[in-house]
Symmetry: C2
Subunit: 379 residues, 2 copies
C-alpha cells in the first residue's frame, strides 16, 4: 500500500482538540502504551506499522502528557487535530468515547475545543441571562421548576396541575420526561392544554411562568412536534439528548426558537467508577456545548448516585467561562425536599433552577406547595 503521500490531511494541524483521561492500569500495563493505543484507536483504528507516516503525523492523536495519580491510576492528555473531526458533532462524540467505550479502565475527564471548532458549535441560544428574561426573573434570584406527572393522567388533568403550579409562582413547569406521545395524553393535546393553562395562570397572577413540554425522542416527528409547540406559544422544551441524539439538540439550539432543558436519561451508563465519561464533563460541558440552557441532574442525597463533589463540578462546568459559549443553569433534581431548598440554595447560589417534584405533590395542595417553594427560595 503506497497511499497517503498526497493526502489533503497532511500538513500542520494547529487547531487541536485536547481530551484528558483517567487511566486505570493493572500490573504490567504501561500507561504510556495505553495512552498511545487510545490515540490510534480513536483515529485511524490500525496498528502503527499499517499507518502511512504522513497520516500518523497529521491525524493520529498526540500524547501530550501522562502523570501518575496514585498506585493504579494515571492522568493522560491526548491532543487531536480538529480536522480529524470536521464540523460533525457526531464525530466529536465518537472521538470522545466511541470505540474506547468498548475497552476498560478509561474515564474521559476533560475536553477542550479550539476556537475555530467552537465557532461551529454556537452553544445555547438563551443561557442564564436569556432564560431569566423569558421567565421574568431578575439577576440574583434563583428559579423554581416543577414537573407534570404522573404518566397516565389525561391532558386536561396535567393542564390542571400546570395551572396550579403556575398560580403558585413556579417559573418553569415542565413535563415529566416520561410523558411522550402516549394515548393517555397525546403530545399535541397535552401541549395545547398545558400552554393554555399556564397562560391563563399568568393572566391571573401577572407572572411569567413558562411551560416546557417534553418533546418525544422520535426522528420522524421531532421537528413537526417542535413546530406545533411553537405554533401554540411554547417558548421552551425538555429534550433527552442521549435518546434523541446529541446533534438533534445542537440543531434545535441553533434554530434559536426554544430554550432547552436537557434531561440526563441514560447518562448514568457513562458514570462507572473507572470507565466512562466524568459526570461533569458529560452533563456539565457536553450538554452545554450542544446548546442546553439548563441541565437537569440528580442531586446528591436524592434517589440517585452522584456525589456532592460531582454535583458541584457539574455546576462549575455549566457556569464557567467557555469562549463565546453562554453560561447555563444547573437544574438539580431527583428527590429534593422543599425544606432542604434553602440549604442547597446556599451551596449552589442563585444561578440555579431548583426542580422539586415529589415533595410538592406530597403536600396535596399544589398552589400552596408551590408558594412554599418560592418562599424557600426567598421569593
Amino acid at each position: 500500500m503506497q497511499l497517503g503521500r498526497e493526502s489533503s490531511a497532511v500538513g500542520t494541524a494547529r487547531q487541536r482538540i485536547r481530551i484528558s483521561y483517567r487511566l486505570k492500569c493493572g500490573p504490567g500495563q504501561d500507561p504510556h502504551e495505553v495512552a498511545r493505543d487510545i490515540a490510534f484507536e480513536q483515529t485511524v483504528e490500525l496498528p502503527e506499522p499499517c499507518v502511512p507516516a504522513p497520516i500518523r503525523d497529521s491525524i493520529v492523536g498526540r500524547v501530550e502528557g501522562v502523570t501518575r495519580s496514585n498506585s493504579q491510576t494515571w492522568m493522560a492528555t491526548i491532543s487531536y487535530p480538529a480536522l480529524a473531526v470536521g464540523r460533525d458533532l457526531g464525530q466529536l462524540v465518537n472521538l470522545l468515547f466511541g470505540n474506547i467505550s468498548l475497552k476498560s479502565g478509561v474515564q474521559v475527564t476533560d475536553l477542550e475545543l479550539p476556537g475555530r471548532y467552537l465557532s461551529h458549535l454556537p452553544g445555547p441560544h438563551f443561557g442564564i441571562a436569556g432564560l431569566r428574561q423569558l421567565c421574568g426573573v431578575e439577576d440574583g434570584a434563583p428559579l423554581s421548576c416543577a414537573a407534570l406527572k404522573p404518566l397516565g393522567l389525561a391532558a386536561a388533568e396535567l393542564a390542571q396541575l400546570c395551572y396550579q403550579f403556575a398560580l403558585g409562582g413556579i417559573d418553569v413547569v415542565k413535563d415529566d420526561h416520561g410523558l411522550a406521545d402516549q394515548e393517555s395524553a397525546p403530545f399535541r393535546e397535552r401541549v395545547a392544554h398545558c400552554q393554555q393553562a399556564v397562560e391563563r395562570a399568568n393572566r391571573e397572577t401577572g407572572g411569567s411562568s413558562r411551560y416546557f413540554p417534553n418533546v418525544p425522542s422520535s426522528w420522524s416527528t421531532f421537528n413537526a412536534d417542535l413546530a406545533y409547540a411553537r405554533s401554540v406559544g411554547v417558548v421552551g422544551v425538555l429534550v433527552n439528548p442521549l435518546i434523541i441524539g446529541l446533534d438533534a439538540v445542537r440543531h434545535t439550539a441553533e434554530q434559536g426558537e426554544f430554550a432547552l432543558l436537557g434531561h440526563p436519561a441514560l447518562s448514568g451508563a457513562f458514570f462507572q467508577a473507572d470507565h466512562g465519561i466524568a459526570p461533569d464533563l458529560l452533563l456539565g460541558r457536553v450538554f452545554r456545548l450542544i446548546g442546553c440552557d439548563g441541565v437537569i441532574y440528580p442531586n446528591v442525597g436524592g434517589r440517585f448516585v452522584l456525589t456532592e463533589n460531582e454535583c458541584a463540578a457539574i455546576n462549575g462546568r455549566l457556569r464557567e467561562p467557555l469562549g463565546s459559549i453562554k453560561p447555563v443553569f444547573p437544574v438539580p433534581a431527583g428527590g429534593i425536599d422543599v425544606t432542604r431548598v434553602p440549604f442547597w440554595l446556599d451551596r449552589y447560589g442563585p444561578d440555579t433552577i431548583f426542580l422539586v417534584g415529589g415533595s410538592l405533590y406530597s403536600q396535596g395542595d399544589l398552589v400552596a406547595a408551590s408558594r412554599n417553594l418560592m418562599k424557600a427560595l426567598g421569593r
Copy 2:
C-alpha cells in the same frame, strides 16, 4: 389532588412489555423493594402515596417475579403496560434504562415486546436473506467485510482501497466509522468515488461487492446524505445508532432503501459488570429491533472487552425467532486475524459476516489479502 379518576389510561392493559433485570443488592437491601422502586421510577417517578390508585394499577410496572441468583444477586422481571410507552421508540429506550441508568447495581438483561408493539417496529428491511441477495451470496456461505481506513486518506485513495477489496472478492466494503465528513475525504466526494470503484471492480470480476459508506451522525444532514448516497447507487450504509439516535436508524430501516450495518460506538458505556444493559440485549436485540441488518461487535480475543459467552449470546439474539422481525447478521470484528477466521467460522456458523481490518492491511497487497480471507471462509 383528586386527579386520575377519569384518566383515559385506566382500564385493563393486556399488552405488556416485560423487562428483566439482574439486581446487585448490598446487605440490608431488599430485592423486592429494589424491583418495586424500579417499577415506579421508570413510569410515574413519584413515591407510591402520591400516585392515584387507578394510575398505580394501570401504569406502574408490575413486579412479576424476583429470584435469588447468588448471595448478592437477584433476577427480577417487571411487566409494563404497552400504553406507558405508546408508539415512541425513544420512550421505549427511556423505559428500558432512562432514569435507572442513574442508579447502581441494575443490569437490564431482557426485553420482550407484545405483538401489538412489534407491529409498530417492523425491524430490519433486508435481514440475512435480503443482504445475501444484495451481495449475491448463497445460503450456507459466510460473508466477508473489510473497512476503508485510515482517516486522513483522500477520497480517491480510499476509492483505490475499495477497488482492491472488491477485486479480491470482499462482499461488503464499509467505511471506517470514523470517516464522517472531514476535509480529507468529504462525504459526498468519498461516496461517489468509492461507489464508482466498487462498480468498476464488479464489472471486472462479475461479482456483487457492495460499498457501505458511513453516514455522518448529523441531524441536519443525515437524510440528505442518505438521498445523495442513493442517487449514486449505494444500497447499504453504516450507521452509529447510539450517536445519531436509535430512532433515526428505525426510521431509515422503515424507508427500506438501504441495508443497514450498525456500529457499536459508545455501546461499551452500557457494559458495566453490575450496571447497564447486557451486551446481547443492546447489540443483539435492540439493534435488531431498530432495523440493523447486520450488527458489528468487538469479538472476543481482539482489542476489546466482550467475553466468548457474550459474543455467542449476541449471535443468538440476532438470529433467533422474534415474531415477524427478520433474523440479521452478526458481524464480529475488532482485531480478527485472517488465520483465525476458520476457527471463528466453525464456532459462529455461516450466517455471519466476518469483518477483518488490520489483518488485511498488514499483508500489504489488498487484493491478495482479500483472496486469502475468501479462501479462509471456504469461498
